[in-house]
């Protein structure tokens, strides 16, 4: 579904991604694991073309994304939830969802605000609250819900569990498993494999812009040496 090949990216003169290759198949959850600064967020931004890559290719459902604007990428069905969540603080919950709304996709039940309030009940209870006056966990739910309003075929989730209380993380994991069971493909990035372990099928380990390892999530969790080398701080 998503095929990233030899992706290169720069911030100014700093070379961040040195040939990242990865793939996500329909209906599966893949995880990008790595320490702070490994290039996880940059990979996601480069896929979305928010940071136009300087080399390599990204193909989504067979289509090369080269030369597309970010909004074109989103319209093809790539839904992006940034690490900082980037909720519109002066817009209400309902208005934030409206910004994300896109036409339904054939063969896919369209997301509506009502369906999302059912998935994230806490959002349903605060439809009129400005995004700026929500807790971190609520903002994360809203960021995911807002992106789902675009009826994506693949969700790019950048460090969704960061800074959230454990009980909120559990609720988030539950919601994501629900999405997975409906057949939504997800590429997730995490520093801490604990959260991802319950959701992801397989993982890529990223270090300083290079992919160092790829394997089933369970195998990564079982290999303490691997985790010590690429994840522990």
């Amino acid at each position: 579904m998503l095929a990233v090949d030899d992706l290169q990216a720069h911030y100014g003169r700093a070379h961040i991604l040195h040939g990242v290759s990865l793939g996500v198949a329909a209906g599966e959850v893949a995880c990008l694991l790595g320490r702070n600064g490994a290039g996880k967020s940059t990979t996601m931004k480069a896929i979305m073309r928010l940071l136009p890559p300087t080399g390599g290719s990204v193909r989504f459902e067979g289509q090369d994304l080269a030369g597309l604007a970010p909004h074109d990428v989103a319209r093809l069905g790539l839904g992006y939830v940034p690490e900082e969540r980037r909720i519109f603080p002066e817009l209400t919950v309902a208005e934030n969802l409206e910004v994300g709304r896109r036409p339904p996709r054939p063969g896919q039940a369209p997301w509506t605000a009502e369906r999302l309030y059912a998935l994230f009940p806490s959002l349903g209870a605060m439809k009129k609250r400005p995004g700026g006056r929500m807790s971190g966990g609520e903002q994360q739910m809203l960021a995911i819900a807002r992106t789902l309003m675009g009826n994506p075929r693949l969700l790019l989730l950048d460090e969704p569990s960061e800074g959230l209380a454990p009980v909120v993380v559990d609720r988030l994991a539950e919601a994501l498993l629900g999405l997975k069971s409906e057949g939504l493909a997800i590429l997730l990035s995490e520093q801490n494999p604990g959260f991802a372990a319950s959701i992801a099928d397989h993982a890529w380990l990223l270090e300083t812009g290079h992919i160092r390892h790829h394997g089933p999530m369970a195998a990564v969790m079982a290999d303490a040496g691997l985790r010590a080398r690429y994840l522990s701080v």
Binding site: F88, E95, V99
Partner: protein, 615 residues
Amino acid sequence: MLDWQGLVVQGLNGLASASSLFLVAAGLTVIFGVSRIVNFAHGSLYMLGAFLAWTLTAHGPFAELGGFLGFWGAILSAALIVAALGALVEMTVLRRLYHAPELFQLLATFALVLIVQDVALLLWGPDDKFGPRAPLLRGATVIFGARFPLYELFLIAVGPVVLGLLWLLLHRSRFGILLRAATHDREMVAALGVDQKLLFTGVFALGAGLAGLGGALQIPREAVTLHMDMAVIVEAFVVVVIGGLGSLGGAALAALIIGELHAFGILVFPRITLVLVFLVMAVVLVLRPQGLLGRGAETAPVAAPAPPLPGSLPPALRWAAIAAVAVLVAVAPFLGDYPLILLADFAVLVLFAASLHLIMGPGGMASFGHAAYFGAGAYAAALLFKHLAAPMEVGLIAAPFAAGLVGLLFGWFCVRLSGVYAAMLTLAFAQIAWSVSFQWVEVTGGDNGILGVWPSDWARGRLVFFYLSLALSAAGVVVLRRIIHAPFGLALRAQRDSPLRAEAIGLDGFFLRWIAFAVSAALAGLAGALFAYGKGSVFPSFLGIPRSVDGLLMVLLGGVQTLTGPIVGAIAYAGLQEQLARATDYWRLVLGLVILALVLFFPRGLAGAFARRAA
């Protein structure tokens, strides 16, 4: 003194002008909110709205229709045509500049101002136009025993109605919700699949339409003139800045304040009416830098890192500069009076632009009011001459000190702010200085200026005076170059590129900017004094907005990266203006098109373009 009925009527007058002002300011603030473009051409759109409404009520189908429908059809059509023009300008010009530095966007909208000026002159001629009065709203009503025009009453209602409609648009329509989202985070809106191009074109059409409507609604109450654009843009900027950039409620509140200030200021402080508005703006910005309802500190736009300073001029350029000066010195004795006057003017403008460059380039601040210091120097020389009969030598020495002191005073306020707010505060102070020179007739002679400010006998010949101007200008440029390359200049650039890091290594950013501001003012003052002696007189126009704009254009045209920029820019701009003015009546149009072409094709300025070709 007025009775209370008079006060009520005066208050209503204030409301009527507040309403018109709000229409223009609302468009300006909505455009800024989404696109981050400060649209100087907004006043031009207002003027076009007025001219178009005048034409449509006088000719064509609406004029034939006549009556109520004819009049309002013409007004609304004028607004719609201006909206379409706004969309066209966005699609053809501004869209290419969203990633360009802020100052280039300004330059492009300045160019549009020049172009619209001459297009209006071409289409409508220089005479003032008087529109028809509005059907059904011709008469007056009696309010507390005083007569009050119905049309003004109608205008009072227009403001709140438009505010309400805009609120509905922004909160109840998908387009409006997207606009508000984009005001906060454009990139995220794009990542959610929204094509920003449509959004930007839409917001420009909306803002332009509001300006056009504001202009069109003026035709029953005032003459349509070619000066409407500048008059209204300055007021609208004041309103938007006082209210807080991007805040619609703020614009409404500030329009109300400014409208009433005009109405009552004339009763209470007749002597300082022109200053009053700018005083209020200065006070607001000093106390609440983000404006009354503005949203806290703007996140500074990420500026592209400036290339390192060249250690010394490339030899070719250095020799070219020396050769140019040598040729000027050698050729001057063979020139007539007119070329010598022109060359002396060029020397003055080079110094003026180079002084402005110190704060805009290394300082990283924009000044929209640099003429204040040019004028301060000129007036210092002229007043010394008038009251103490001081000779030119004294005047030339005192002028930089006087202008430097004014710079210290104004700069202390201005350098605390950043970006557009700082630029607007410099404009406010310049307008205050201009108003003083214009309204304090006893001392400054007001509009009549101060005459007979001639050089000393030895320098009275055109040739000697040119040599003097060239020498002082060159000396000023050398001083500026040394300052930029001295540790002070490096520290100044450091605080521009990374305020936090500069602070962390112990650099006092405020102090550095303040001193740079004062030095820049002092050298502008020297240029002003030279200019005064060259012309033999001083007028309030020396401190006017057009002169500040000239300075800005010279620096931007040349490029802010190096000191060569403003020098090349000053000569190119002044030379072009001079040549064009002699060749055609429509020099503004040509100049505007040239500037537009430069902005679109040479985004680093003239000097930058040459440097790249050389490299």
